[in-house]
């Protein structure tokens, strides 16, 4: 572009034209190098680009060829339509694929646009086309060629945007109606590319390039925006460290912020509710604090990329397992590495570098996630087998006895109470059920129980206040079970109750944090029990929010799934799906055409084989009707001569259509404004009226009218600048406040 200003400063509009063509060229070269185009189309587009480029640089012969292309607006429309039909043919038969067919169509559109660069909107269309082409070439080409082409594209893009803006604002208004000489010659000097502008534009382009590079290399390749919550602002989950302070969950039981969403393949049955999401379990209680002694973590085996399994060696697994539950979990950033899921995890699918598990069946991330993560888990819970209902044997594995019968120092009162409650029960399950029932029935649920500071919170809960929440219930139950010799442990996690039927998922909030009990039964393994009485949590917000809330939340989830979490794998999946879809569309179209064709052939053969004598009156009537309709159509065609409107090879009247539209809009606007009352007003009269009654608008009206008259009645073709000026003046006019009337 440098040569342009050194010798003879270039007109801004000409420069815009040039950079626009460069922009298109860059994307075209990108596509060609990416082998996205067949030879003939590449040659056609290339030649068009060269021709338009030469024309821009003032080659008169080329100019005559391109601007005097004797095709009318309707002709161009027909060509576009033909291109569209060609696109379908291409899609169905030639290339049989959406991407190449779309690219071919795109290039044809580009060629058409290049021949029709008249209005600002044409330029905008060209930019859109080249952007899409550039994106496509980016996906087609992975080698280094892309870099220079992208640089050119960026440079041309910066220039184009700048010039596009400048040409929009540089029209200087006068106030005189000048009948014939073209007015803008007056301001020609300010319309040229000055050296300053040249360096500003290149500087802008370079700056944009630098910023692009910086952003490209600094944005982390994770599904997290740079403005997303950092580590410091993670949701606080004090319950999920390696110990549980009795009373810790209480403070977060009032926090309604969403922790995760758990999507299930189908709506859970009513008896499966509430949905328990297990975090970690604790085996050791020192009278105040629960800790997990089995915290030694081992890696999960990554079976295939993104799929982690226990390889069937689940901790404390038993023969009979429940139904597999598949859950898709979207976890908000938390300050815990625990991976939540329904008990007990069999396999985890997600983009994790590695996963760990401990002996209690909890699964951990290597470190707490700073962004939302999405993963899929397949879990199977243990099933209560009948042996445990009848048998009195208490044969526990050694490891279970060692870990889960531990008691804090002085549990005498509790032991007495537990013995009292379970005196009539014989097997562990009955004992557990009795204790659960006892706790549920005799204790009151309340979040206002500041037990954390007390010396012996459990005794306080059981014998004094008789008021508490899930942790107290659960702790009490575990300790009581252990005093009567039943292995049990405390489990923390979430109890999901809020089912979103629009998206088939549970919304889990901080306030759903929960603690419950797992009891070890000799035959069944770990069985979940919850001594906490259910409490009705009133949903937040008014009735409207009750209805809208789930919908909005679902939209949030889908947004995250479709855009935030969108990855290359997803892209590929979409492309594959599109391809499969287009194939099926193609097959369907072919099938239906075959069906139609065969039906037609059947009809034809029937007609041929029909005896003349068997032609019925009805058929005759149909034929007569058909002939009548044909005659009517013929008559109409003769009368109306619609083809006179289709004179494809008439001199280009495209600009006339545009300027007439401009004038019409202007006239209707002025009529609306009360400057004229009838359609019997002639153009120059309108100018005269505006001059005397609305001086501010006079210049715009005069300019538009002049161009309109010249083209409409003089058939003098307009240049791009003229049309642009008319459009700008029209915009200016429509924005004018009619104050000085």
């Amino acid at each position: 572009m440098g040569y342009s200003f050194l010798e003879q400063p270039m007109l801004l509009s000409q420069a815009l034209h040039l950079t626009s063509i460069l922009l298109a060229s860059a994307s075209f070269i990108g596509l060609t190098l990416g082998a996205g185009l067949p030879e003939w189309l590449a040659a056609l587009t290339g030649m068009t680009l060269i021709a338009v480029l030469l024309q821009n640089m003032g080659m008169k012969s080329v100019d005559r060829f391109t601007t005097r292309m004797p095709v009318s607006a309707i002709g161009w429309n027909l060509i576009v339509f033909g291109g569209f039909v060609g696109f379908w043919i291409d899609l169905l038969w030639v290339s049989g694929d959406l991407l190449p067919a779309g690219l071919h169509f795109l290039m044809i559109l580009m060629v058409i646009k290049l021949f029709n660069l008249r209005l600002r909107r044409d330029y905008l269309h060209l930019y859109a086309i080249s952007l899409v082409a550039m994106l496509a070439s980016g996906s087609l080409m992975t080698d280094l060629w892309f870099f220079p082409i992208f640089s050119i594209y960026l440079l041309a893009g910066a220039w184009t945007l700048l010039l596009f803006q400048l040409t929009k604002t540089s029209e200087v208004g006068g106030d005189v109606w000048m009948p014939e000489p073209i007015r803008h010659e007056r301001h020609e000097g300010s319309h040229r590319v000055s050296p300053r502008l040249f360096w500003i534009a290149n500087g802008l382009a370079f700056g944009a390039f630098l910023i692009t590079v910086v952003i490209f290399f600094t944005i982390p390749r994770v599904n997290a925006g740079i403005y997303q919550k950092g580590f410091g602002e993670n949701l606080r989950m004090s319950g999920f460290s390696d110990k549980v302070n009795l009373g810790a969950i209480g403070s977060i039981k009032r926090d309604p912020s969403v922790v995760m969403r758990v999507e299930l393949p189908r709506s859970p049955l009513n008896d499966a509710r509430p949905f328990y999401i297990r975090g970690v379990s604790f085996d050791r209680y020192d009278g105040k604090v629960w800790t997990n002694q089995l915290s030694y973590r081992r890696s999960l085996i990554e079976e295939s990329p993104g799929t982690f399994t226990f390889r069937g060696k689940r901790a404390f697994s038993r023969a009979q397992l429940g139904e597999a539950i598949q859950q898709k979990i979207l976890l908000e950033p938390l300050d815990t590495p625990v991976l939540f899921a329904a008990p007990f995890i069999e396999s985890v699918m997600g983009m994790f570098p590695s996963l760990f598990f401990d002996a209690t069946g909890a699964v951990y991330l290597p470190f707490p996630s700073s962004s939302r993560i999405e993963y899929t888990v397949v879990s199977r819970s243990n099933v209560l087998v009948s042996e445990d209902l009848g048998s009195e044997s208490e044969l526990y594995p050694e490891s279970v006895v060692r870990q889960y019968l531990q008691l804090p120092f002085q549990p005498d009162r509790i032991k007495t109470l537990a013995a009292e409650v379970t005196q009539r029960q014989h097997n562990p399950y009955e004992k557990a059920t009795a204790i659960q029932a006892y706790l549920t029935r005799n204790y009151r649920y309340s979040l206002d129980a500041p037990l954390a500071e007390q010396q012996q919170p459990l005794e306080e809960f059981l014998f004094a206040r008789k008021t508490g929440y899930c942790e107290h219930y659960a702790t009490a139950m575990v300790i009581m079970l252990r005093t009567v010799g039943v292995p049990a442990r405390l489990v923390t996690g979430f109890m999901a109750t809020e089912w979103n039927e629009y998206g088939n998922y549970y919304v889990v909030r901080q306030q759903d944090a929960h603690a419950w009990v797992e009891v070890y039964l000799p035959h069944s393994g770990w069985i979940r029990m919850d001594p906490t009485p259910t409490e009705d949590n009133p949903a937040a917000g008014g009735p409207v929010w009750k209805v809208l809330g789930p919908i909005v939340d679902n939209i949030k989830l889908q947004w995250n799934r479709l855009f935030v979490q969108y990855s290359a794998a997803d892209q590929l999946a979409v492309v594959r799906e599109l391809k499969a879809e287009s194939m099926s569309v193609r097959n369907k179209a072919l099938d239906s055409m075959t069906v139609l064709f065969s039906a037609f052939m059947t009809l034809l053969s029937e007609i041929v084989s029909h005896d003349v004598s068997r032609i019925r009156i009805g058929l005759l009537g149909e034929l007569l009707g058909f002939a009548g309709i044909s005659l009517a159509i013929l008559f109409w065609l003769r009368r109306r001569r619609p083809w006179t409107a289709w004179n494809l090879w008439k001199n280009d009247r495209n600009d006339e259509l545009v300027i007439v539209q401009c004038y019409r809009t202007m006239r209707n606007y002025l009529i609306k404004k009360g400057l004229s009352s009838s359609t019997a007003i002639a153009p120059l009269e309108l100018v005269e009226i505006t001059r005397s009654r609305w001086r501010d608008a006079h210049f715009s009206v005069a300019s538009i009218t002049e161009l309109y008259c010249r083209t409409r009645f003089g058939h003098i073709p307009l240049t791009y600048e003229d049309l642009k000026r008319a459009e700008d003046e029209l915009h200016h006019l429509l924005e004018l406040q009619k104050s000085s009337l």
Binding site: V660, Y663, S678, A682, P683, E685, R710, R712, F713
Partner: protein, 313 residues
Amino acid sequence: MTSAETIRAIQENIARVIKGKPHVIEMCLVALLARGHLLLEDVPGVGKTTLAHSLARSLDCSFKRIQFTSDLLPSDIVGVSIFNRQKQAFEFIPGPIFANIVLADEINRTTPKTQSSLLEAMSEAQISFDNKTYPLNPPFMVIATQNPAEYHGTFPLPESQLDRFLMRLRIGYPAPEEEKKVLERASSLHPAEELLPLLTASEVVQLQDQVDKVFTEESLTEYLLAIVRSTRQSELLALGVSTRGALALSRAAKALALVRGRTYCLPDDIKELAPIVLPHRIMVARQTGLHQRSFDQAERIIRDLVDTIPVPV
């Protein structure tokens, strides 16, 4: 000089004499370039003759003035055959009509016979005399005047003959300050005598040929015809505009476009000219109770009609 500049120069030239009447001067030139004739209808003393005279002076053309009276004979206009004794043959002595610009003053004072001899020349641009035709030298333009205030002893021109005039104009009194300028003129010479010719006759003919090349868009022709048709359908009019009238309007519009420096017609040209070119070609219906030949009346009706015809967009 381009044609537009030439025409502007002539306008300015005449405007030095006829003060404050640029529109009349413009119309005068339109009539000239459209190869038409002009009927000036106004009270005496507003410059009808001076206008014709200045126009003729601005062009390097021959100018004759015929004062029409009730006893004027056709031969006084066309010319006479006189026996030439030396040649022993009748010789045609051309009358004053053989000029480029003819001022027919008070045309309605003479008899229809004399009037029609002039009118034949106007439409045919030739004179038939004694079985011989004598073509008139182009450009040929008749500027006729008549006084609308007088009715006694006049022979009003019939519509068929009025039709021959491209346009009927009124000059009107000048504005006070313009009139003052007229009075302040120092020279005793007739003002038109001071003008210098700017164009030769052949250049005028060239300009007239250029009018033919002025482009009239198809929709404008339709617009024009719609105006003409509306005069034929109007209940206020007993007689609408003839095809010759339509042709005249079309030619005048082209000439106006050229005068205004365009190579194509605009709806404005037609709209502006219709009340000048058409009113003398129509007859106001009797039942309207209006005076049949009232100039103002006809002009107003035409204006009203034109205001109902949508302009092509």
